[in-house]
Symmetry: C2
Subunit: 330 residues, 2 copies
């Protein structure tokens, strides 16, 4: 079958508000550095008031991934819920101007567009405070099964598993995908997702609803309920067709049945802001998968995209990833 | 008299929307590279749609200057009109979080907050398309004469001379300043301001309403009606107490009566985005003036601030300018 889209993603439609912060400031708000938490609008307003001057850039985990796919020259679509406000206009402009299909209508009855207040400490670590607003109101009817069938891969964001409506939307997408022979990729997103939804995730894996699973070390350890990385990888890899585990500066590994591959992190000139590293790694890997390049080249594309995004503020690529990929994607 | 503020500025309250663009794109919209034009909301929407993904950062010429003053450790205030919308909240947060006093209430009856669509070409030149929106509705009553009297220097943005209400506000500020012994600094902002308001500007100078005048080469040539730079500087310097002329990579000069000084541009590592260079030069010079440092040191502070801001996207400093100034401001 001819696919019109390489990847169709469902995720939070978010604008990032990115400010430098000291380690002390992050400690003072009770956040472990590098973590993510959900906050309500009142908490967001209070934290924003205490933050340094910020820059606003479109974000959202799966949205960053499709931005990366577009930069690699692949055809991607996105589904996510915005409010009818200025931040929603910014998100819409930024994703469409990349050539990503994005047709989910904004809504006037769902509060404000989601924003993520990101504190970047001097070590370039990001600590994220997310006000989900409109993003958590994504309804299942926004997922068109015909649209899903037109994609090689559907990519689902674990962050969206928490609220009920988007979870139902993702179930609908998985059903439509397996009906159509579209592969389902899922990112665990954060340890808290694994912690809260371990039973759901186990069922998804055991029912074969997920074809490609992305996680970092902490998420995989938690999902496996193990303290040993190799054991955890073995145990999760046995339950999913393809497993990709990112390891920050130690690169990443992939497993598919008996096949395994690994990649080192790409060298960088200067580390600025690690926001989006995992999202862009997923973009590179999915670009390789959609082109049928095999685990090793797909991992390499992931490492290239992640290295680009951590060398500037913001979670979407500034460079032309297709050019950086060179012969790998030629 | 003890002054509570070093500088109180009146200017456009604007959020910048900054995107990379090719030379061809800038040509295709009929803009000379490096220029500024005013556009209405429909034109802004149309241009935005055609632009690449963008980052949003608070801007506004005089607002950038007070941001620079705050980074130098000086006490600054700002007056400008916002609408009651999300971009207005962003502007308010960013300027207040620097420690700048900003109390002008946003208004719900003046359309949207101003935005400047900035196209940055590969040579780091910026071409600016400004939708003034709420900013041009600044009313004279927003200027409190007591507030003006508490500042050593009032700084006025030429861009705001165009619309009638803010022009009246700036006249009110000049009157209050001279009543109180507060110095008046004025930036010509753009050649089109000089072109359209040459008679007004001549009157302001001849009535002694301006104490410190900022301009770049093109603006000073146009104001003097001369083709020769040295002649133009001589002629304008004879009509104002202090004249500062910025010359991009050739540094800047200052004249005060018989006294003259000049400074070279500071060396930089990489040129990224020239937006805000003039605004930050003014910040450095005014910091020196407010501290009574004399022309040469004030110019040097201007060069330091301008060099910082052109090495990253956005028109406000990211580094601590006080630290960069070192002994100069100790």
């Amino acid at each position: 079958m001819q696919h019109r889209l390489d990847v169709l993603a469902i995720g939070n439609a978010i604008v990032d508000v990115i400010a430098d912060a000291s380690d002390d400031f992050v400690t003072s708000i009770g956040m472990p550095k590098g973590s993510m938490r959900l906050i309500d609008e009142a908490e967001a307003d209070k934290l924003y008031e205490a933050m340094a001057p910020a820059r606003e850039l479109s974000g959202g985990s799966a949205a960053n991934t499709v931005a990366g796919l577009a930069s690699f020259g692949l055809k991607a679509g996105f589904i996510g819920q915005l409010a009818d406000d200025q931040l929603g206009q910014i998100f819409t402009h930024d994703i469409r101007s990349l050539g990503v299909e994005f047709e989910t209508p904004p809504r006037g009855d769902v509060g404000a567009t989601a924003r993520c207040l990101i504190l970047v400490t001097p070590d370039a670590q990001r600590t994220m405070n997310t006000f989900l607003g409109a993003a958590q109101e994504l309804e299942p009817h926004t997922v068109n099964p015909m649209h899903v069938a037109q994609a090689k891969i559907v990519y689902l964001e674990g962050y969206l598993w928490d609220p009920a409506a988007p979870r139902a939307a993702m179930y609908a997408a998985m059903d439509a995908a397996h009906e159509a022979g579209t592969k389902v990729a899922f990112t665990l997103s954060d340890s808290f997702v694994v912690d809260r939804h371990k039973a759901d995730l186990a069922t998804l894996l055991d029912e074969g609803r997920i074809d490609i699973l992305f996680g970092n070390e902490a998420e995989i350890l938690q999902l496996a309920g193990s303290d040993d990385f190799d054991d955890a990888v073995d145990s999760v890899a046995a339950r999913v067709s393809t497993l990709v585990v990112t390891r920050s500066e130690h690169g990443a590994i992939a497993r598919r049945g008996d096949e395994s591959a690994k990649v080192s992190a790409e060298p960088i000139e200067r580390l600025v802001d690690t926001t989006g590293a995992g999202d862009l790694f997923a973009a590179g890997f999915l670009a390789g998968e959609a082109r049928g390049l095999g685990l090793e080249k797909s991992l390499k594309l992931g490492a290239i995209a992640a290295a680009e995004v951590i060398q500037h503020y913001g979670a979407r690529p500034e460079a032309d990833l297709k050019a950086l990929a060179g012969d790998l994607l030629a």
